[in-house]
Amino acid sequence: MAPPILDVSDLACRRGGRRVFDRLSFTLGAGELLALTGRNGSGKTTLLRALALLVRPDAGTVRWQGADVMAEPETWRGRLAWLGHLEGLKGDLSVRENLLVAERLRGAAPPADRLDGALAAFDLSGLAVRPVRTLSAGQSRRVALARVALSQAPLWLLDEPLNALDAPAQAAFRAVLQKHLAAGGLAIAATHADLGIAARSLELQA
């Protein structure tokens, strides 16, 4: 068991007047993957958004290497890579342009070879100049995953990463995720399907 880097304690969230989750606690160490399971509406997305500070939690703390992340939200956001339900891509820009813009908006300037590497990892090299709006759902999901992989952020927050992915794409995702974990990264994924990688599991009750 790796020493915990992410420490969540007593996290509580309320949406629209009702408690979504209450007194939620877990820790996560380097190289570990946490799979969030639970029925639709059990609060998996809310939990991910609360960890990203997109939703303000009603109670509880989130600590990264002992420091409260809410004290320095900008630094915390720099440590995250986010994959939501929506792809977060601009339809009128090409695949390559989207990845470049996404990195620039995080204040980074990826060298061309790293960009090409991310494209190759998801078999997108042939699609690099296509506008994203011409891609299928599975293809744009792969672009979104490439964006996450490119970010080199220590913590990945993934909401249903396997959505719309065919078998080869799922294998590519697993390979990329394992590489991230092996390098000491952390990941939390909300998922219905089996991720296919050794993971700790946290089930949310509706």
């Binding site: 720099g78 792809e87 977060g88 620039r104 908006l105 204040g107």
Partner: protein, 221 residues
């Protein structure tokens, strides 16, 4: 700062890919302006008197037209979340979006309006005043409009509500902008008006980015 430039560049790039969106807004400006002589009559003296007000109001409405798409597109494709998660201040991101809006809407309007002013019988110095005041005044419209767009993001009837929120707040800019042109027309200097327009822009710059960021964060919840 690099994030600000990246976002501004991205939005301008997106408009470049779809120039029709800008053209439509400018076409609306022309059509709306032309309606007034058609509705009121082509008497030259009358038109010259109302020109400043008509052109400023039409510019205001044309600016509002493109505003309700300001944040909606990002909201719908998930890029707003990425902006909320960017490791630099959201206030700057909101400012970048308003700057992009001004460059593709306010600036062309300021350039186009003097040509329409000719059709209204304005003299050379009035045309100059018109262009100058629109140049200084339209950024304020973009900022106030951006705030209204952020506040109504995801609301019902957001288009009409946006106009209802933005228009009263734009009244000071309208008054001094149109007033400057009229002052020129009666032969006096319009530098005071320009200075006040500049002050209004600074007030908007100081207050709206914070409010826009607060509103965008609520949209993310």
């Amino acid at each position: 700062m690099s994030g600000f430039i990246a976002l501004l560049a991205r939005d301008l790039h997106l408009v470049w890919r779809r120039p029709g969106d800008v053209a439509v807004v400018l076409a609306f400006f022309v059509v709306a302006t032309v309606l007034f002589p058609l509705g009121i009559g082509p008497e030259t003296n009358l038109l010259a008197r109302i020109a400043a007000g008509v052109l400023w109001c039409a510019a205001l409405f044309a600016s509002l037209l493109s505003l309700d798409r300001l944040f909606v597109a990002d909201y719908e494709d998930g890029t707003l979340d990425l902006l909320l998660l960017a490791p630099w201040p959201l206030e700057l991101a909101a400012l970048a979006k308003c700057a992009a809006h001004w460059i593709v809407t306010g600036l062309p309007l300021a350039i186009l309006a003097p040509f329409l002013g000719i059709a209204f019988g304005l003299d050379r110095s009035s045309l100059l005043a018109l262009a100058a005041t629109l140049l200084v005044g339209t950024p304020t419209l973009s900022l106030i409009g951006g705030l209204a767009a952020a506040l109504t993001l995801g609301a019902r009837r957001s288009g009409a509500l946006l106009a209802l929120l933005a228009l009263p707040l734009c009244v000071p800019t309208l008054i001094f902008g149109a007033g400057a042109v009229e002052t020129m027309a009666i032969g006096k200097n319009f530098t005071t008006h320009l200075a006040i327009l500049g002050a209004l822009a600074l007030v908007a710059l100081a207050t709206t980015p914070w409010a826009m960021a607060a509103a965008l964060r609520q949209a993310g919840e």
